[in-house]
């Protein structure tokens, strides 16, 4: 039977694929933040898994905490930007916003 760590690796690659695909096809700004969260979660598990496999779990955890903080700050700023964009342009559709001149 496949080992637990290989199952986690499959999970990481699947989440990466879902996040990338979602980022490519989505047009809504808030949905973009959402799929970016999925992408970052896969990177975070990969860091912890790499730390466990290489025998440096503390380093992997430390990097994962940094990734969580950076990801949360990114989400906060991106959502604040999305609120302002909606307020000024009346839409969250990225192609529509890119054609507007404000």
């Amino acid at each position: 039977m496949i080992s637990p760590l290989n199952i986690v690796l499959v999970m990481i690659i699947s989440l990466l694929g879902i996040g990338l695909y979602g980022l490519l096809i989505t047009r809504n700004l808030i949905k973009m933040v959402l799929v970016l969260q999925i992408l970052v979660k896969s990177a975070m598990i990969a860091l912890v898994l790499a730390g466990k496999v290489s025998g440096n779990l503390g380093t992997g955890q430390s990097l994962a905490v940094t990734v969580i903080v950076a990801d949360t700050v990114m989400a906060v700023v991106a959502l604040a930007l999305a609120v302002q964009v909606r307020r000024y342009f009346g839409t969250l559709d990225v192609p529509e916003i890119s054609t507007l001149r404000g």
Binding site: M1, S3, P4, L5, N6, I7, V8, L9, V10, M11, I13, S14, L15, L16, G17, I18, G19, L20, Y21, L24, I25, T26, R27, N28, I30, L34, I38, K41, M44, I45, V48, K52, V53, G55, N56, L57, G58, T59, Q61, S62, A64, V65, T66, I68, V69, T72, V73, A75, V76, V77, L79, A80, A82, V83, Q84, R86, R87, T91, L92, D93
Partner: protein, 166 residues
Amino acid sequence: MMSVIYLILGIGAIICAYRAMVTQRLLSSILFLACVSALVSVVLFLLGAQQVAVVELSVGAGLVTVLLVYALSVVGDDARDQISVISKPVALGLVALDLLLAGVLVFPLVEPSLNVSSFSLAVVLWQQRVLDVWIQIALIFSGVMGVLGLLSENAGVGAKKDEVHL
């Protein structure tokens, strides 16, 4: 037995992530994302990263979900089915190529080495990677300042209107 638990958690996380991506209603997507965060935190706990699991559960499943729901309540749910800019087959092909490369590079995973480092997260974070802590502090500070600037109630617009009246 552990493989079965990891399998259940992994399949659950993948299904929730997929549903979060394809669901049209943003509120449902946010709730599916919270489920992904919860399942990921359990996986992290089982991998031995207990501190990261707690942080992920509180921040990922708690704070980020609240922020997303707040933003959604401000801007409203726009549930139109929008056609993507990149056609879906092209996007699928790009992602499949990317995953193929990643799979070739990482599979099969070697088993963990036995000489596991005895350093805990606290020792690594506060003694070996102090720069990371400073970066985190700077990030949090800049994030707070950025949000305060962005969400300030149209001060710039009001000032411009006053100038026009003068």
